[in-house]
């Protein structure tokens, strides 16, 4: 369980990124922070592995304040997929992925083997593992970043817009893979995106944020759709202007679901 207690962050230059933030993230679930650019998502995420220390309040993992933990040990125990892949340009892909394993003392051979395994999970093959990050496309680099986050099999996984530069098809595949990982391997995932559809696709709990890390609404996707807290949320999730309203039309004996502009969205079963 990850807990934010009245957390605030003002950077040394005076920017207040987060005013006061409270949230409980249950273990073995996926929580998604969603909000527009600059609202404090990355700042909140980085408080979990102490890449940012809050200037007020506390962040607790399983009731232990992270401020009391050694940052190096903490970071090695938490998977972190960074917003800008953040790969080491002078190391081959496979060595980038093996970094945390090597830091944790895994032998070279075993670490490489594991790295190749997770690389194939994110759809990269052995020939790509021998390249340098600069030889990959932006989307491929992001997938390497995801593989690196998964490599050490951490219980907590922080993912900061990990699929932003990936094409829609691969993105859907990776989302499905992430859901599989979460349910099969019981991970606690904190995921950041500014894509509300991705948030609803992945989140058990979705946190909609406004500027300054202000919580607009927290809840399961269905609950947010059913009862948006205010106009901001309704507009953010696309409920205004009929963006998400569907209705059923009969076509040749079948019930076809149609969206507000008349485009078919699917077929109603049963």
């Amino acid at each position: 369980m990850i807990e934010y207690r009245s957390v605030g962050k003002t950077f040394p230059d005076g920017t207040q990124a987060v005013a006061s933030f409270d949230l409980t993230i249950p273990s073995r679930t996926t929580t998604v922070f969603v909000g527009s650019s600059g609202c404090g998502k990355t700042t909140l995420l980085r408080m979990v592995n102490r890449m940012v220390d809050p200037s007020a309040g506390q962040v607790l993992i399983d009731d232990v304040d992270v401020a009391t933990q050694d940052p190096v040990a903490l970071r090695r125990s938490i998977g972190y997929v960074m917003q800008h892949a953040g790969l080491l340009p002078h190391r081959k892909v496979v060595d980038n992925v093996a970094t945390v394993l090597r830091l944790n003392g895994t032998g070279k051979g075993a670490a490489r083997e594991r790295a190749l395994e997770v690389l194939s999970t994110v759809g990269l093959d052995e020939s790509q593992s021998r390249k340098y990050p600069g030889q990959l496309s932006g989307g491929q680099q992001q997938r390497v970043g995801v593989a690196r986050g998964l490599a050490a099999d951490p219980n907590i996984l922080l993912m900061d817009e990990p699929f932003g530069a990936v094409d829609p098809i691969v993105r859907l595949e990776l989302q499905a893979e992430l859901r599989r990982l979460q349910t099969q391997l019981d991970k606690t995932i904190v995921f950041v995106t500014h894509d509300i559809d991705e948030a609803f696709a992945l989140g058990d709990q979705v946190v909609i944020l406004k500027k300054g890390g202000e919580v607009a609404q927290v809840g399961a996707p269905a609950d947010i759709l059913a009862q948006p807290a205010d106009d901001f949320v309704a507009s953010f999730v696309g409920l205004d202007k009929g963006g998400r309203s569907l209705h059923v039309e009969e076509r040749e004996g079948r019930k076809v679901v149609v969206d507000a502009s008349g485009r078919p969205a699917g077929v109603l079963e049963g």
């Binding site: 960074m82 340009p89 002078h90 600069g134 680099q141």
Partner: protein, 242 residues
């Protein structure tokens, strides 16, 4: 006109290539002073430069102090140190160290500072200790500039190590000082030529080392990587995501 041909005659005279006062021995002495100086300067400048580059602290102070050091005339420093320490190896080596520290320090901290902050942040986020961030990321990535600092320092020290002869030590400076004493211009010019050739050779060695460091730091930048040409993936893509 005759100075040049006399210098050539002096350089090609077999007698000047043997014995204690011969060119090979003077070159060895010269290289000895140079390496000793660089080791001393590195012992000061490398740890300081790494610290300043990694933490960003005392940067302003370092710029100020090295600026002041650069302004000191080496011959003046040498005279002063010789008066203080007496005749011997200490004074010239110290005077040359004062000369070598500024370019070396600048190269080291500029090298460490030049590393993309996002890369450093990523290394730290993976759980590297500060020492690991420094030795596994900042140093290898900043190495081209660090080697550049050594290159600049070496060039200056090799050229200036001639002052050792000023306080009765050896090295290639002997030809210049001894030649001047007896107005033996061919010997002075010949000695200077050897200094210049030595400096150019060393500079070449460092140029090669710097290029090698550059290839290690940015393995994908130049078209020297054989795997990149045969691969369909766009290699021109920058390392940052759009």
């Amino acid at each position: 006109m005759s100075v040049v041909s006399d210098a050539v005659t002096w350089l090609t005279d077999g007698a000047h290539w043997t014995g204690e006062t011969g060119i090979p021995n003077r070159v060895l002495e010269h290289l000895g002073y140079t390496s000793l100086t660089l080791v001393m300067a590195a012992a000061v400048a490398v740890p300081l430069g790494l610290y300043i580059g990694h933490t960003g602290r005392f940067r302003g102070l370092a710029i100020g102090v090295t600026g002041a050091l650069r302004a000191l005339p080496t011959l003046g420093v040498l005279t002063l140190l010789t008066l203080l320490l007496g005749i011997g190896l200490e004074a010239p080596i110290l005077a040359l160290t004062v000369l070598a520290v500024p370019p070396l320090l600048a190269g080291v901290y500029a090298g460490v500072e030049s590393v993309d902050p996002q890369t450093v942040d990523a290394a730290r986020a993976q759980g590297m200790t500060e020492w690991q961030v420094l030795t596994r990321v900042e140093v290898p990535l900043g190495l081209p500039l660090v080697v550049g600092g050594f290159r600049a320092a070496t060039l200056q020290v090799v050229a200036t190590a001639t002052v050792a002869a000023y306080v009765s030590l050896g090295g290639l400076g002997r030809y210049i000082f001894d030649g001047q004493a007896v107005r033996d211009y061919p010997q002075m010019v010949g000695g200077s030529v050897v200094v210049v050739v030595l400096a150019l050779l060393l500079d070449g060695v460092f140029a090669v080392a710097q290029a090698a460091a550059g290839r290690r730091a940015r393995p994908t930048r130049p078209a020297t990587d054989p795997s990149s040409s045969t691969d369909p993936t766009p290699t021109s893509q920058s390392t940052t995501t759009p």
